[in-house]
């Protein structure tokens, strides 16, 4: 088998500049706008079902994994069902799914493990009808923890796959 010898030039903006999560590697971005008075929906707020803020915060942009596992949990399925529904409604958005591992592992293995996790999320979303060409995956291994203590309370949050929305279709 041979690799297709084709050079790819991925626009960095696809993954980075166009991301809609205000703090991809930080806390869960609870700083988003709150609903307006008397239940009025403020466009772009977590109460606006068409907004990325709604996706990131109300549905949830991430799922968590058990140690050294890439199986989607029941809780994860609920989140991903919501993500799939949103993506099927808001067809202008694409996403990069980022897989992450906690620090208890060697660097290369954790990149491979993060790839498994990201792909598990991608396959789940595709199984729910989201077009595969809207979903890319990337693994950061243990390079981008969001919690930095060295015990299970932090590790559990770092073993994650995060669906990062971007506007526009991928090539």
């Amino acid at each position: 088998m041979t690799l297709r010898t084709k050079l790819i030039f991925v626009v960095a903006g696809l993954a980075l500049a166009a991301c809609t999560n205000p703090d991809r590697f930080g806390a869960d971005g609870t700083a988003g706008g709150l609903g307006g008075a008397n239940g009025a929906v403020v466009p772009g707020s977590p109460n606006d079902p068409t907004s990325p803020a709604y996706f990131n915060q109300t549905i949830g942009d991430r799922v968590l994994f058990a140690v050294d596992q890439s199986t989607i949990t029941d809780e994860g399925r609920t989140v991903l069902d919501g993500q799939a529904t949103w993506l099927l409604t808001n067809t202008d958005f694409t996403a990069v799914i980022e897989g992450h591992a906690d620090e208890q592992g060697t660097r290369e293995y954790n990149v491979a493990l993060g790839a498994r996790r990201a792909n598990a999320v991608r396959e789940y979303l595709v199984s729910k009808g989201v077009a595969g060409n809207r979903l890319r995956t990337v693994s950061y291994g243990k390079e981008r923890p969001i919690e930095i203590c060295s015990n299970e309370s932090c590790y559990a949050k770092n073993r994650r796959a995060v669906t990062v929305l971007a506007a526009g279709l991928t090539g």
Binding site: T5, F9, E108, V111, A112, Y140, I148
Partner: protein, 443 residues
């Protein structure tokens, strides 16, 4: 500073003066067996090298310090403080008063002389076996430019080390690594290169993208590494001299990482993740000839060639947990070599071919260890919260690796340890450091 511009020449300048070697006396010849693990370091005296020209005094002192630090840093040698000296070496050419050095129990005596003409530097040295009352090997002279003075010191130390241990040296070498700044959740990484002892740090990339695991080419002229500069992990090759880099060919929608050169300097092996599955591939560095070497649904990564290029050691979790395997260089049936408790990763074949260094994870601790290529005689050299990523010194006798401390202030730094598990030492870098790769001996 451009080390590549340095010209070193070796002249057998002084052998004739001691053509008749003295007979060894009661003591055996000056010798250290590294494999036995030295508990009592060999005492040596190193009087500050003589300045043969008026302006050579500063460099003579600095070069003497480099030689001394190299030897002491091995843990195999111990410098006798100059205050203890009975006789002084007033001239490089003067006869040595062996009794004076014997009296302070110096087993080895190293003398040297430094001369400077313009930007040309010349360093010569002699090594004496004090208890045999004889010179050990011929005097040697190294010439080069003044800006390469540290290398001259390393060359002298390599020659001394080599004569006493019978092994190749490793001091005139460099290490490429990842320099790290910032907190754990916002870490900035960039490639850096330095002398093996942490001197002369130069940065090879900026910190705008995550970089991982640089690996030297067999000639030390190029470095393979993984960068996220496109947003996705991808392999690059960088020319150390020009600091020019280029991305290697890759397949769209995949991630590639964990690259390493074959001994031919043309073939590389690496990991490629596609659809969540990571396998090992090989390709030509110039492009083309890509071949998939493993095709299991498990994670196959961290490939490293045997020095003869015929085999590849790698890690796989095909058994359910990370373990080490060896397969033919062209792929094919792999045999598992790690069977102890815990998980094994990041195998690296020794340049001597005899051992494989690895990272082991067991009971919440990490270790750097070595085993024979059939998996026997496993020996753990370190233990800590997180040790990983061994790299071999050019002589296969010392290992450098990454140690990360735990908790919110967790920081990565470089350490070295010898293969007997002795002489664990931090390698000082200006900032944090990880993923070291040791060059071959410089030419």
């Amino acid at each position: 500073m451009k080390i590549s511009g340095l010209v070193l020449s070796v002249a057998l300048a002084f052998g004739a003066m001691h053509a008749a070697p003295a007979q060894a006396q009661n003591q055996g010849p000056l010798r250290i067996e590294i494999t036995e693990g030295v508990i009592e370091p060999l005492p040596f005296a190193l009087p500050v090298f003589e300045a043969e020209t008026g302006d050579a005094g500063g460099l003579a002192a600095q070069i003497s310090q480099v030689v001394s630090a190299d030897l002491s840093g091995t843990g195999l040698f111990r410098e006798i403080p100059p205050e203890a000296f009975i006789s002084q070496i007033s001239s490089f050419a003067a006869p040595v008063q062996y009794a004076d050095w014997k009296a302070i129990n110096a087993q080895a005596l190293i003398t040297g002389a430094v001369s400077v003409q313009g930007n040309q530097l010349s360093v010569k040295f002699r090594l004496y076996d004090v208890f045999s009352g004889a010179e050990l090997g011929d005097g040697l002279q190294f010439t080069g430019t003044t800006e390469g003075w540290r290398r001259m010191g390393h060359k002298v130390a390599d020659a001394v080390y080599s004569r006493i241990t019978g092994e190749g040296g490793y001091f005139d070498s460099r290490v490429v690594y990842v320099s790290e700044t910032g907190s754990k959740d916002a870490r900035q990484k960039r490639l850096a290169i330095m002398d093996y002892d942490g001197a002369n740090v130069q940065y090879l990339t900026d910190s705008s993208a995550i970089v991982l695991a640089p690996r030297f080419s067999p000639d030390g002229g190029r470095v393979l590494y993984t960068s996220y500069e496109t947003g996705f992990p991808r392999i690059y090759v960088l020319d150390v001299g020009s600091v020019q880099r280029r991305a290697l060919e890759s397949q769209e929608g995949t991630m590639s990482f964990a690259p390493r050169f074959a001994p031919d300097g043309q073939t590389i092996v690496f990991s490629l993740s596609q659809g969540g599955n990571t396998d090992i591939w090989a390709m030509n560095i110039g492009g083309g000839g890509a071949a998939r070497l493993t095709s299991a649904p498990s994670i196959e990564t961290a490939p490293s060639f045997s020095p003869d290029g015929s085999q590849i050691v790698f890690e796989s979790d095909r058994s359910g947990s990370q373990q080490l395997y060896i397969m033919p260089a062209g792929g094919g049936e792999a045999r598992r070599i790690s069977f102890g408790p815990g998980r094994y990763g990041t195998p690296v074949w020794s340049p001597r071919g005899d051992l494989i260094a690895f990272t082991k994870q067991n009971g919440g601790r990490f270790h750097i260890g070595v085993m024979r290529t059939d998996g026997s005689e496993e020996r753990l050299l370190t233990a800590s919260f997180l040790d990983e990523g061994p790299t071999w010194a050019p002589n296969g006798r010392v290992i450098m690796f990454t140690r990360e401390t735990q908790g919110e202030g967790g920081r990565s730094s470089l350490y070295s340890v010898d293969i007997s598990g002795r002489n664990l030492r931090p390698v000082r870098t200006p900032d944090g450091g990880s993923d070291p790769s040791w060059s071959p001996l410089l030419q």
